[in-house]
Symmetry: C2
Subunit: 134 residues, 2 copies
DNA sequence: CATAATTTAGACTAATTATATCTTATATGA
DNA sequence: TCATATAAGATATAATTAGTCTAAATTATG
């Protein structure tokens, strides 16, 4: 019932980048040091975020990572989904999933409500708003 | 971000028992067949529920498993906690946990809200109410 | 008291998921 | 065009979760 460590690292990374003026890059190494996450592992995490359309990466000297969208257009839900896949607390509740017991399964209904309540919160605020709150 | 398969089996088991008049027992084998969960694994799950104070078990002939409390006093949150431990979407958010960054960590605040919203839903209805809804 | 039914307990295996490392490809600037 | 910085991709290791098997303990019943 926990998000993965990788998802946590991803959120930290995105927040770190969201503090910069939009468009500015940071090296993975720098992020890893500031947020105290293992660098090589962070690179893989960044790959997932890039594939998910949340980060732009640039190789080579002067390269690095930057947000693909402005911080007011990204939510924590987006980040978790980019790293873990669909936000679902049970396989049968992932979007696009159907179960033949769906119509009468009492578990599905209660879990769906819980999942939905959680999603609503994770989508409520953008990274920008989260940082402004402090 | 998912509950474990074991937690799902546990919820199914508890709902199956909640359909019976309070005090009535069912054999593990019977539950496993009705709910289509592997029997030997279900036994382990039942142990956890019994240790968590949710089930009473009785060995021997005519033995079996029954609810320890009436179905209107049990929530899905109770069941998940008995099987998985504290309901937390990140280690730092488990009850009793403290983190020195707590006061200013932006991740903690947003995740806490999401976790709380989910918990509220999982505690909103008793097993009795869940079954009555159908 | 003997027997059969049934759960308990623990060790073990297999599968899946998470984490970490190593190698390759690409971009930049001298 | 070469050396270096940097991310991408592939592979290996570790941890967790899921499931099985065996033996022992408990209880009801004849």
């Amino acid at each position: 019932m926990q998000i993965t460590r990788q998802a946590e690292y991803a959120i930290k990374t995105m927040l770190e980048l969201a503090r910069l003026p939009f468009g500015q890059t940071l090296r993975t190494q720098e992020i890893s040091q500031r947020q105290e996450v293992p660098e090589v592992f962070l690179k893989k995490t960044i790959q997932l975020l890039a594939r998910g359309g949340l980060l732009a990466t640039q190789r080579g000297a002067q390269g690095g990572v930057r947000l693909y969208l402005p911080a007011d257009q990204i939510t924590v839900a987006d980040i978790i989904e980019a790293v873990e896949g669909p936000l679902a607390i049970n396989p049968c509740l992932a979007e696009g999933q159907h179960c033949e017991k769906e119509s009468f399964c009492p578990i599905r209904r209660i879990l769906w409500r819980a999942q939905n309540a959680m999603k609503v919160e994770l989508r409520r605020e953008s990274l920008q708003e989260i940082l402004n709150e402090q």
